[in-house]
């Protein structure tokens, strides 16, 4: 009975995830796309998006829901990029400088967002979404009128004969920001998988020796590592990624070190006093306040961290392979929506999220994204359906997550009430 309940609870929690897995498989099969192509596209999307999605975790744990206002972090990063382009700083130094500019800007914006969200407790998710739209207006004002007139810019980024920044800025060629991080070093995907499995196995053993985990957890770690390594050793699967058929899949090393670094940051900060405050504030503000935690300050810190991280994520996105241009007025628009949908697909909820859920969610969400168009034209003979389907997916997932959250809250409330009949029977 207990075992059954556990399975039921698990299914309830991950119903969206399993739905997406099923849909992904269906789409990949029906789209008729080459598996090597799908895999390489997926990898590309992960490189671009994982960092931003991971930036959502801390505010979720701090009880502030999905921080759609990461859009504003993206705007901060774009201001940084614009200045770097205007000043003509190329390559990695340009990226680093843009990141450096994002730090104070994102912190400041995050501080303001946090202040505002503290005034609308309980409605942070919706509040941050609307805030993102509002900021878009301010951003356009800044880029259309203030840049170029009040703040001088190099003429090669402004509209000729008027104030304002050009609609599209090129990142390739002499600008030299294209793949400035990605292209530092690549390692073959297969090698990365084996390395990853090795690290997982080694970490499990070390943790076990230091008595940080039980024998059961050690076994689980070792088995997962062995199974993954085993799967990729199957010749037909290895062939998909090692270039026997089609392109060889390669990981941009530095980008992935940054992504893994962020995972480590997320889990490390949860082991500090600050992390404990995030968790306490996220679970019960009244209790946290009563024990002397400055609730509002903790929440502001969470949003500030998230905003800056999202900004850095946006820089990684912009420089990544296959982008090449900076859509000055549109690049940030869907950042919050897609990242929010992705983490929810991974099984996170309005009040719970982990690194793994963020990564799995990004993977699943984009696997549908890549295949939707082809699958739609294969099934309905019309590729435009796929286009609509993408929008439907993103908003649908978020709506489902919001409903499930409210539903679970109502259920918990009911469970916390006394069961009259039971009590009366006992007496």
């Amino acid at each position: 009975m207990g075992e059954q309940n556990k399975i039921k609870a698990h299914l309830e929690k991950y119903v969206v995830t399993y739905l997406f897995i099923a849909l992904s498989i269906l789409f990949i099969v029906t789209s008729g796309l080459d598996i090597n192509y799908v895999a390489s596209q997926l990898l590309l999307r992960l490189n671009r998006n994982a960092f931003i999605v991971l930036a959502l975790i801390i505010p979720i744990i701090a009880g502030m829901g999905i921080n759609f206002a990461i859009t504003i972090g993206a705007m901060a990063a774009q201001i940084g990029l614009l200045l770097v382009i205007s000043w003509g700083i190329t390559g990695l130094p340009g990226i680093l400088l843009a990141g450096l500019i994002t730090l104070p800007l994102g912190s400041f914006f995050g501080f303001l967002i946090g202040k505002l969200l503290n005034k609308m407790k309980g409605q942070e998710t919706i509040g941050s979404l609307i805030l993102g739209y509002f900021a878009n207006g301010a951003y356009q004002l800044l880029f259309l009128f203030i840049f170029g007139s009040v703040i001088p810019l190099n003429s090669n980024v402004t509209i000729v004969g008027a104030s304002g920044v050009q609609n599209t800025l090129n990142l390739t060629g002499s600008v030299g920001l294209y793949t400035a991080v990605d292209s530092i070093a690549h390692i073959p995907f297969l090698l990365a998988v084996y390395l990853g499995c090795g690290v997982l196995a080694a970490a499990s053993v070390i943790q076990f020796v230091r008595k940080a985990i039980t024998a059961k957890r050690l076994a689980v770690g070792l088995i997962i590592a062995a199974v993954i390594a085993g799967i990729f050793s199957i010749p037909s699967i290895a062939a998909v990624v090692n270039g026997t058929h089609g392109r060889e899949l390669k990981l941009p090393l530095v980008t992935w070190l940054l992504i893994l670094g962020l995972c480590l940051f997320n889990s490390t900060i949860m082991r500090t006093r600050l992390g404990q405050k995030f968790r306490a504030v996220g679970q019960n503000q009244t209790v946290a306040n009563a024990s002397g935690i400055d609730v509002d300050r903790t929440r502001i810190i969470a949003i500030m961290i998230s905003t800056v991280l999202a900004g850095w994520g946006q820089i990684l996105f912009m420089q990544s392979e296959g982008i090449g241009t900076f859509q000055t007025y549109a690049a940030h628009e869907q950042v919050g929506l897609y990242a929010g949908a992705a983490i929810l697909v991974g099984g996170a909820s309005i009040d719970r999220a982990t690194n793994l859920q963020a990564l799995v969610g990004t993977f699943l969400f984009h696997s549908l994204f890549i295949t939707a168009q082809s699958a739609a034209s294969a099934m309905f003979g019309n590729s435009a359906v796929g286009e609509y389907f993408r929008a439907f997916l993103s908003y649908g997932v978020i709506a489902v997550a919001l409903i499930m959250y409210a539903w679970r809250g109502a259920k918990q409330k009911k469970a916390s009430q006394i069961n009259l009949a039971e009590e009366a029977a006992k007496a």
């Binding site: 900060i269 082991r271 500090t272 006093r273 600050l274 992390g275 404990q276 405050k277 968790r279 306490a280 679970q283 019960n284 009244t286 209790v287 946290a288 009563a290 024990s291 002397g292 935690i293 009430q417 006394i418 009259l420 009949a421 009590e423 009366a424 007496a427």
Partner: protein
């Protein structure tokens, strides 16, 4: 001598506006003493504790008069955190625990043990790593001290309610430098054996030299655990003495006290109301948050005014709400020999019952609607009164006429029947509620806390109206009130509810001792007389 008392609160007076809720109250507590603080609702216990903890509600309403000495020197406590730093702790009635945290994490909440590292030295203590082993050790010690053998790493959410109280205590005694602990009704949610264990824990904490203020309404616990007792009534200090010199009966009498005379002078009935029950309540359980009933047995006689008294949170308000179907209830309720369905307000209203709710602004009134609409609303909806024509339109002329009649009869002070009820004073709002219940032409009326928050003049009028309805129209009235004096002045009999059950039914002239004991759940020898 300076250290004879750990806490001295001298001549504390606290005003809310022009209303004094504490009048010249003093409280002195020695180290290692368990000091019981007794009093009815509104006696000033919580205000006194708010002063002690420097709650914002005190500071934002103009502070207080008098002085507080802690550890022999005058202190000004600015906030609950400040109180905590000084060594004053509180075991809350509603648990201040985070369900998703382990026992250890709750005990050490915001007092985590952590190890610094280079980055935390630059960016602040917030980034220090938690030392979970040390935290678990401390938690284990604290749990052992309160006699709990639960594992320190279990999540609080899965624990029985009784355990949570002990975790709260463990958290308080884990704090270093704790000198004074306040227990606010700590046994309310515990089983008998848990309550017994808790008293033992309190004694062992006191034996270590920590002073305890013990707020409770259970007199047997006071007699069991306390060293001395202070009684408050109506914001004033009644008496304070060592336990040895007192008895439960004396405590009960002092808690109730007969404050001057009756609220209003009503001519008493010449003959007692005949024992002919119009309503029988059997084993009624009501799930009203904060006012849970656990098996009410009560007969209401036809034509009487029955009072229901008791302390707040004991379940007296649950009775009318349960019978009227406003909260989930199970059990049996018979009215005029027929069974009433529970949880079905419409049928109950049609059967001739009506209720004036204690929650005037919440469910009693539609605040942005006019007085006349409020008065006729229920009658229109349930009985189809005040309608005309085959399309069932509102009969505005009839409504206006009836509303004006009611306004005159109940002396509702308003500019016109069309004035929105939200703009009326509390007393006049209450009169509108009464008028609305009367528009139903009920045979049986529940009135719940009818005088709460209204001025003395309006109070008289409401009470007089109830008596008039009873005497002239023969309406059976059940009045629930926290003010015993009020019940005593207009009721025929008074039922006292404690811990969700009717403890006793008393005559209005029963002694203070009998009422006091009943409120703390004890049936006295003279009880059961009515």
């Amino acid at each position: 001598m300076a250290d004879e008392y750990i806490l001295e609160m001298n001549h504390i007076t606290k005003m809310y506006g022009s209303n004094a809720v504490l009048k010249d109250v003093s409280l002195k507590i020695r180290p290692g003493e368990i000091h019981a603080l007794l009093g009815e609702n509104g006696a000033g216990k919580s205000t006194l504790m708010n002063v002690l903890f420097g709650m914002p509600v005190i500071h934002t309403t103009g502070g207080f008069e008098g002085e507080v000495l802690f550890n022999g020197s005058p202190v000004s406590i600015s906030s609950p955190i400040d109180a905590m730093d000084k060594g004053i702790g509180m075991v809350h009635q509603e648990f201040m625990l985070i369900p998703g945290f382990s026992v250890t994490d709750n005990i050490k909440l915001n007092r985590e043990i952590a190890r610094p590292w280079p980055i935390s030295k630059i960016l602040g203590r917030d980034l220090e790593f938690l030392d979970r082993e040390a935290m678990a050790r401390d938690a284990r010690n604290a749990l052992d001290d309160v006699g709990m053998n639960i594992e320190e790493y279990t999540l609080v959410s899965g624990l029985p309610v009784g355990h949570m109280q002990f975790i709260e205590i463990a958290r308080e005694i884990d704090k270093t430098g704790m000198k004074l602990l306040v227990f606010d009704e700590p046994t309310a949610v515990l089983t008998e054996s848990e309550a017994q264990q808790l008293l033992e824990v309190m004694k062992s904490i006191a034996a270590k030299g920590i002073a305890i203020i013990f707020i409770t309404h259970r007199l047997d616990e006071v007699m069991n655990a306390a060293d001395s007792v202070t009684i408050l009534r109506d914001g004033q200090l009644v008496s304070t003495f060592p336990k040895k010199e007192t008895s439960p009966a004396q405590l009960a009498a002092q808690m109730i006290g007969r404050s001057s005379e009756s609220v209003i002078q009503i001519q008493k009935r010449d003959t007692e109301v005949e024992d002919r029950p119009v309503m029988r309540i059997r084993k009624l359980w009501v799930n009203m948050p904060g006012e849970v009933d656990k098996g009410i047995d009560l007969d209401v006689r036809e034509g009487e005014i029955l009072g229901i008294g008791g302390l707040a949170g004991q379940g007296k308000i649950g009775i009318p709400n349960g019978v009227m179907g406003l909260y989930e209830a199970i059990g049996e309720v018979e009215f005029e020999g027929k069974k009433l369905p529970l949880g079905d307000a419409g049928t109950v209203l049609k059967a001739g019952l009506a209720m004036v709710s204690e929650d005037r602004r919440g469910i009693g009134l539609l605040l942005d609607q006019s007085i006349e609409n409020n008065i006729v609303f229920t009658a229109m909806q349930v009985n189809g009164d005040f309608m005309k024509g085959f399309l069932h339109q509102k009969d505005t002329r009839k409504i206006r006429k009836y509303a004006e009649e009611m306004i005159r009869e109940l002396d509702i002070r308003c500019t016109s029947p069309a004035q929105p009820t939200g703009t009326l004073s509390g007393g006049n709002q209450q009169k509108v509620c009464v008028a609305r219940a009367l528009a139903m032409n009920p045979k049986f009326l529940f009135v719940s806390e009818p005088t709460r928050g209204i001025d003395i003049g309006a109070k008289h009028l409401v009470l007089e109206t109830l008596v008039r309805l009873n005497r002239e129209k023969g309406m059976t009235i059940v009045m629930v009130s926290s003010e015993l004096q009020e019940l005593r002045s207009i009721c025929d009999r008074i039922a006292i509810v404690a811990e969700g059950k009717v403890v006793d039914i008393l005559k209005t002239d029963a002694s203070d001792t009998a009422f006091g004991l009943a409120m703390s759940g004890v049936r006295s020898e003279e009880g059961g007389c009515a």
